[in-house]
Symmetry: C2
Subunit: 384 residues, 2 copies
């Protein structure tokens, strides 16, 4: 939806709470990451999970055959219906989801699934045999003990890949995600996490090739490490998601400025609790999420930091408490809240701790481009 200037509802007419996107900042972030990764000679396979909006896809991808990552089959199905056709579903597969994967393949979509166990590989082979198809699978590599995956030097990796390679499924390569990189405190540890991620993927691929199993995809990625690679020789693609919009977690890691955060939740001051020194706003966890970001950062950002509509940060304010449809803003300043500066009815923006979680609370995004004087409403793809 793109409104022309006569139809365009003004920013002031937006009902709160709602999520706004600053489109020029989004596009700048997306372009910058693409240039960085492509300058290292590697494909970017953006993660769709942060925005999950078809209207965002042309900005995230250069064309419909460019690679993309999804976190649900629902995203894959909507993208496929629009002509996007090179997809990795990057959550460990379960048998009950294979029929939908198969349907996408039947439509000519290149879609790969992810697994890290012999059980899954056996089930996949069996499904492919029964349905006379060959679903492509990546084996997840554990590069940092974060969550899932097989260690690159674990003989299990070779067994799983061998089973896929000799079965009816198609073994396509390896994928790793440096989830622990979100806990890095400085650029040195980030670079170390990025190197470890790359090394794990390359080691895994090399072990497989040494027993003559081809490894077409060698995929790495997380937004923190994607900002920290120096050498990607041997890697075929990088995945990252939140870099398009950024958030307070990324800011506190030093990966973006406050001005690079492309989204905010617009909220109205609906009350003053003078006794407690609270501004009460109409954005609770329904609009912001309950995500507090990385634990170590909890105390400083609360449930989000506050700017005015122009993006200027109120340095000592934060959302300290959230209920369903109420948020409470407190100050860290010694003089308490200046209630006259924030009258009832005034409007504030809340910057998200974790953009993926905040976007997930909204069915639509209000997308403004002040430079081009455009306003669009983007729809989020919901569900699984």
């Amino acid at each position: 939806m793109l409104f022309n200037s006569t139809q365009r509802p003004s920013y002031e007419a937006l009902e709160t709470p709602c999520l706004v996107v600053n489109k020029p900042i989004l596009v700048r972030n997306l372009t910058s990451m693409r240039q960085n990764i492509e300058s290292l000679g590697v494909n970017l396979r953006p993660h769709f999970k942060t925005l999950r909006s078809l209207e965002a896809a042309p900005h995230i991808l250069p064309n419909k055959s460019a690679p993309i990552t999804v976190s649900t089959l629902k995203e894959a199905e909507v993208l496929a219906d629009e002509g996007y056709r090179n997809i990795i579903y990057a959550v460990g597969i379960s048998v009950t989801k294979l029929a939908r994967v198969h349907r996408l393949m039947s439509k000519g979509i290149r879609i790969s699934v992810l697994l890290d166990s012999l059980t899954q590989a056996e089930s996949l082979n069996e499904f492919c045999s029964r349905h006379q198809c060959s679903i492509s699978a990546l084996v997840e590599i554990d590069c940092d003990g974060h969550r899932a995956g097989v260690r690159p030097d674990d003989p299990l990796l070779l067994h799983i890949a061998q089973q896929l390679h000799t079965g009816d499924a198609h073994f396509q390569g390896v994928l790793t995600h440096a989830g622990e990189a979100y806990h890095c405190q400085n650029s040195h540890s980030l670079r170390r996490a990025a190197s470890a991620e790359v090394k794990a993927a390359l080691d895994a691929a090399q072990h497989l090739r040494s027993i003559n199993i081809p490894c077409d995809i060698v995929s790495v990625g997380s937004t923190p490490t994607a900002h920290s690679y120096r050498d990607l020789a041997g890697i075929t693609e990088v995945r990252a998601g939140v870099y398009g919009v950024f958030d307070l977690v990324m800011h506190r890691m030093g990966l973006c400025d406050i001005d690079d955060i492309a989204i905010g939740v617009v909220t109205t001051v609906i009350g003053h609790n003078v006794e407690r020194g609270w501004l009460i706003i109409d954005a609770g966890w329904m609009a912001l999420s309950s995500d507090r970001g990385i634990d170590s950062q909890t105390s400083e950002c609360g449930f989000g930091l506050i700017t005015d509509g122009a993006g200027t940060l109120f340095k000592d304010l934060r959302v300290s408490i959230v209920n369903q449809e109420h948020g409470i803003i407190e100050t860290e300043g010694r003089d308490g809240i200046d209630f006259e500066a924030f009258p009832i009815g005034s409007r504030l923006h809340v910057l998200p701790n974790h953009a993926c979680a905040t976007t997930a609370m909204h069915t639509h995004y209000h997308v403004f481009d002040a430079q081009k004087a455009t306003y669009e409403v983007w729809t989020r793809i919901l569900g699984w």
Copy 2:
């Protein structure tokens, strides 16, 4: 949507993650609260915000003119379109939302708004004057310092009510919510919170009547206090929300048994991290929410406790970590997880910490009645 037996998809065919409702338990909980409150001689005005589903409304309310509470105008609009017509919108009103309230009134809906400041009262009078209408307003009373509202003995209460009473708006009464009752640790403190809530509302009403301002509605409520009232003389209605489905917060407060929790998130085991002792499931914060419940309970329930499909609790398991589409289940047992008992592909249920937050992550609920052998899909009303 109600499927007959031939169309009925089986429980086993549900794709995960998804939210299931045990309908007989829901109906039992709803009935029990209604009987308790009505036996105290008072109306029940249930809060719609937990389920937000039109299909649930006939179970929540005895008829379409029965009173209901909503947390968004979107809920009010959908209910009104279906014929429900006695609504309190229980979040502090802001001017930009009044046009929608006015539209509902024009359709013959009785809808009341909530406020706690002279600014809001002035804006409401001005709106009513400009649009030649008389919107009903309740003044929010602060009974426990939880969030918003005016103390019952604060002269500001009289000023606000007077302003509404003499202006174009309609002053309708007082409303309070014992939000601090969620921190009560035992039945004694719950009863004290319930008494304090009732007293605050009665005191406020009495002050107003003493200056000849009629106070038709004297509304109290929270699920914890709604279980703890003994005497409601002078109160006109009780509001409560989560009692229909319950959750782990309510269970840990002693307000329900585990068997009274009417919802769960169905999830599939998608991985074993043997080294760390983790079951990896396909329900992350997108399916469960990031809500950890009341802070003091954090360590024990994590992001949810685990049952099998029949509702039997695995006492030492909990979801300890959530990412977007991944959850991690850990055990508190000394022997670690029995991986053979939870093979990859097996199915578990996660009981919610906070039901309102977990339902909010789903567009649909899968509603089973094992006694009547029925399966329904209920749609959640989304947005604001």
